[in-house]
């Protein structure tokens, strides 16, 4: 079996332009999906973080960056605690970044409000049940509406 087709220079230019539009829409959709994922994970995490002086809670942050070390449209997110100027706990005098790891990992500690694994649990839950679906929805929306 054999197939052949002819493309003029003008047709190739149009094809390339339409590919660029699709790539830009996927780029916008990916960025929106990454931000939405961070919002959802951090909102769940803030509900679970132990709340005594609210220092850890106030240090919650996320950042979304466009990767510059690769040529494709990739976004990466950093999310966690110890941000927002790394506030100091008024009871202990320690910055949030100095004790957040112990609070997160110490499964034997008792907390009146909140729990250990306050970031890992929401992150894993999101990754397992929502990540693929949400990415698909945002990309689909971006392709159909232009990502605006």
């Amino acid at each position: 079996m054999k197939a052949s087709f002819d493309l003029s220079g003008e047709q190739l230019s149009k094809f390339e332009a339409s590919c660029q539009v699709v790539i830009q829409r996927v780029d916008k959709g990916t960025k929106k999906a990454t931000i939405a994922a961070c919002e959802e994970i951090m909102n769940a995490s803030k509900e679970q973080v132990p709340k005594d002086t609210l220092t850890l809670l106030s240090s919650a942050f996320y950042e979304v960056h466009k990767r510059t070390d690769v040529s494709s449209y990739l976004y990466e997110a950093t999310l966690g605690y110890g941000g927002n100027g790394d506030p100091v706990n008024p009871k202990t005098g320690k910055a949030a970044s100095e004790y957040m790891l112990a609070v997160h990992e110490d499964l034997s500690a008792l907390h009146i409000i909140g729990k250990a694994k306050f970031l890992e649990d929401p992150l894993r839950e999101y990754a397992n049940s929502k990540f693929a679906k949400n990415i698909f929805e945002y990309i689909n929306e971006a392709l159909s509406t232009g990502g605006s």
Binding site: L101, H104, E105, D106, S108, A116, K117, R124, S129
Partner: protein, 132 residues
Amino acid sequence: MATLLLDIASFLKTKGIVTGDGVDTYRDFIPEEPDSLVALMEYKGDPANALDAAVHRSVQITTRNKNADIARQKALQIYKVLVDNQDEAYGIQFTSDRFGQVYIRQTPFRYKTDENHRAYYCFNIGITTNIE
């Protein structure tokens, strides 16, 4: 089938890393004494899958010692015995009744020092295995 944590403790005992459950190895709690111990704590896993009898569970392995270097070495020893006993599909036969696919989530790290100057190291693993 024994509980998952008891099966892991038994596995570590057969490998000569711990003396035994309730002696230097504790499950789901960390006692005040002895200073030197290994603690196995299960925490939130993933929801069950209707198509599969196995579930994905999460376990934290903690070591404690007054000497931080000894605590770190013990955590590394456990880490290495898990890696060395994984088959090509990450499976480990913990006991005759307990098989699990083990996903080591990170290398051991120090997460706190308590008021008695004892260092705590831990690492977390995911295990796909049966539920008791």
